[in-house]
Symmetry: C2
Subunit: 429 residues, 2 copies
């Protein structure tokens, strides 16, 4: 039994803070949707506010070289690394108020609860806001937790060089908003004891099964490919159909096959979410088209098999087109399958059942990627899921009830305190 | 026999002017390609230069309400409307130095030749630079000659409202560069005697047959459709394949069919040159995709049949997808088949054969659209084609030799003078 079983977060304050900060920084007109792209003016403003709030709670705030924010409340031990909790404040171009945002605002509510109750933990407690989780402005989802873990194939320097559609580099964007910090972005120099992330499910399973909480045991494997199709520019009125090398026609056949192959193999899901056309003129046969493929499966092996099937289909399509169009993959990145740690999974489960008294819980695997996936490669981690209405996410209609948000925050608090007790008692694996 | 058979344009001056102005205003780096989008800073600068040059030759310069420039050299008759020549100075985003530009620069060379030889024509002679022929920045090719002819289904007010990809309206763009004139954009109030347009062929036929000059008798029929495909946004990792309503997958199948139907029916050519995606994020299933279809055939009837076949295929594809995606056409515009006038066709043929002494000529139909097509609806018109190397156009590799450019300019001069003689002599139909 934990020392602070009766400790309660302030659910109203959590929900009010989530709603008011979303309204202030990045709200879409005429909906509860959000557009708070990474390192945008809206992102800068909510970051500035978050830093100020954490400082008022007595936290030490550090910003690392990728702009990740670490706000740390001291523990009684001066030897232990922090027990951390967090998520991300950036959103999709037309996303919701819960994906990422809930995890950070709930972490702030945990800090506020510890502070106003004068709780002295054994380990320090850190809140983390990870930069550019969505990868919506600077392609590369979970980019900066990936750099921190040192396990991503995309290095810090490569991330700095990634550009948005206006040609602005990520490094320049970090500088411009004042979040190019000097703390090393490397878990070996800025480490954690463990990591918990509260997040909305972004899928329909909790709602469909009548459960309130998901104890997340793993995150599925993912891989992304940036593809360029090359053809030859020409006049749309004077170039006979059989003399064309139309990059968009070939790209269209490839994009359709990305969907078809996922369906026919049943190995997982694959999506093209981004497309751009070099020439973009109604009277010009397109000469170059780029798109990004997103592939996700339960295991690394299934991702590999699905990708092989997709590119086999691509080769067949290009050969069948036989019109001098070609494709090449100019960037590949991904997130291997992540299995969370029993110590953290156990703390979440015990917090939900024993401390908060919730029975409607289920173990689940995450279909979406999360910063916790990268963090789990180097630090014991787990996640808490709360229900998404109709399973909708990455959409202004994304919704999780205030009660479920509060419940998630409460379990986050208790999981941290249970883990802290276990560290103090030396009872962990 | 014409009064000025021995009169010669200055071919070196024509070619030097064409190359130097292209280099100064809109040249692409590391190629002879051009990017001089309609009403861009580069377009403004070349317009300012053209106006200045024409004024120095004693021309009266007027700008109409769509920014079309009319520079008129007086004739001896005060009752006749001008014999006109012209084309356009705007280019594709990555176009060449000849499409449109040759026609205007050659017209300037004709004015210069008349001026320095103190030639007194019977009719006034006008040079015209038509605004936004390419429709590359503001969708709608041959937009402003269409308005002037009053035969386009896109009205002046509708053109004013068309926006570029940055959301800037055409009217604002005209204002911004100082080319929102007050001359009526209407042939009934600002009319012409007849119209000649020198242009590159933009196709391979002259070169393939060894001819130097094309006497253009008609322009093929064209139609454009702006299409929107609607689906439902969703998370690319958590939405099962069979629960998706992916607008880009459906759009891809439609785009491929635009090409397939043109091939299988053999009725003409159809192209998708422009595509855009609302969400444009790698982890989001696209909810809305827009694209423009360009259809061209020899006759209006064939265009109608090809369009019917394309949309029949669209309906079948959407029904087969059966995933709650849908499409609708939100804008339609076009250019009916244009047959040029025998008086003008005869003047071009006679200028080439009798006055300039060229035997390698052929009658031909234009596959590309031209301002002359709209003008011909209300004023006697014809065109002169000169060869395009390898038939390439709308591409930085577009090329026509200096000799062919000069030859085209010389025939343009003689066609004008022949027609002027015929007016003076009352010998026209």
């Amino acid at each position: 039994m934990a020392a602070y079983r009766g400790l309660r977060i302030n659910g109203d304050r959590l929900n009010n803070t989530l709603q008011s900060t979303s309204t202030s920084w990045g709200a879409l007109a005429a909906s509860t949707g959000m557009r708070r792209l990474a390192l945008s003016p809206e992102d800068k403003e909510v970051r500035d506010w978050l830093v100020q709030q954490c400082k008022e709670l007595g936290c030490d705030v550090r910003v690392d070289r990728m702009g990740n924010i670490f706000a740390t409340r001291p523990g009684s031990s001066t030897e232990r690394k922090p027990i951390a909790m967090g998520s991300h404040l950036d959103t999709q171009p037309a996303g919701g108020r819960y994906d990422g945002i809930l995890g950070v605002i709930a972490a702030l509510e945990v800090l506020r609860t510890l502070h106003e109750n004068n709780i002295q933990t054994h380990c320090p407690i850190s809140l983390i806001d990870w930069t550019n989780e969505e990868g919506a402005r600077f392609p590369g989802a979970m980019m900066c937790s990936g750099v921190w873990s040192t396990k991503s194939t995309t290095s810090l320097e490569a991330c700095y060089a990634v550009k948005d559609t206006d040609g602005l580099s990520m490094k320049k964007a970090l500088e411009d908003i004042g979040y190019l910090g000097d703390t090393p972005c490397d878990y070996r120099e800025n480490g954690l004891e463990c990591y918990f992330e509260l997040h909305i499910e972004q899928g329909p399973k909790l709602e469909a099964t009548g459960n309130k909480v998901g104890v997340v045991t793993a995150v599925q494997a993912m891989k992304w490919f940036a593809v360029r199709v090359s053809g030859v520019e020409g006049h749309s009125g004077t170039t006979p159909m059989d003399m064309r090398s139309d990059a968009l026609v070939t790209a269209s056949r490839l994009i359709a096959s990305v969907s078809d192959i996922a369906r026919t193999t049943g190995l997982g899901v694959s999506t093209v979410g981004v497309i751009s056309n070099d020439t973009q003129s109604q009277a010009t046969i397109p000469s170059g088209v780029e798109f990004i493929i997103d592939v996700r499966c339960s295991t690394d092996r299934m991702v590999q098999d699905l990708c092989s099937a997709i590119f086999k289909s691509f080769d067949e399509i290009v050969q069948r087109e036989n019109n001098y169009t070609s494709y090449h993959v100019f960037r590949t990145w991904g997130l291997p399958e992540s299995v969370f740690h029993d110590d953290c999974i156990g703390a979440v489960r015990s917090a939900a059942v024993d401390e908060v008294g919730i029975s409607k819980i289920m173990d689940m695997k995450s279909g979406a990627g999360h910063d916790a996936a990268w963090v789990s490669k180097v630090v014991k981690s787990s996640m808490i899921f709360v229900p998404s209405k109709d399973g909708i996410s990455h959409n202004p209609a994304e919704y999780t009830s205030p009660e479920d948000c509060s419940l998630g925050g409460q379990i986050l608090l208790q999981a941290l305190l249970l883990y802290d007790d276990d560290v103090k008692n030396g009872s962990l694996s």
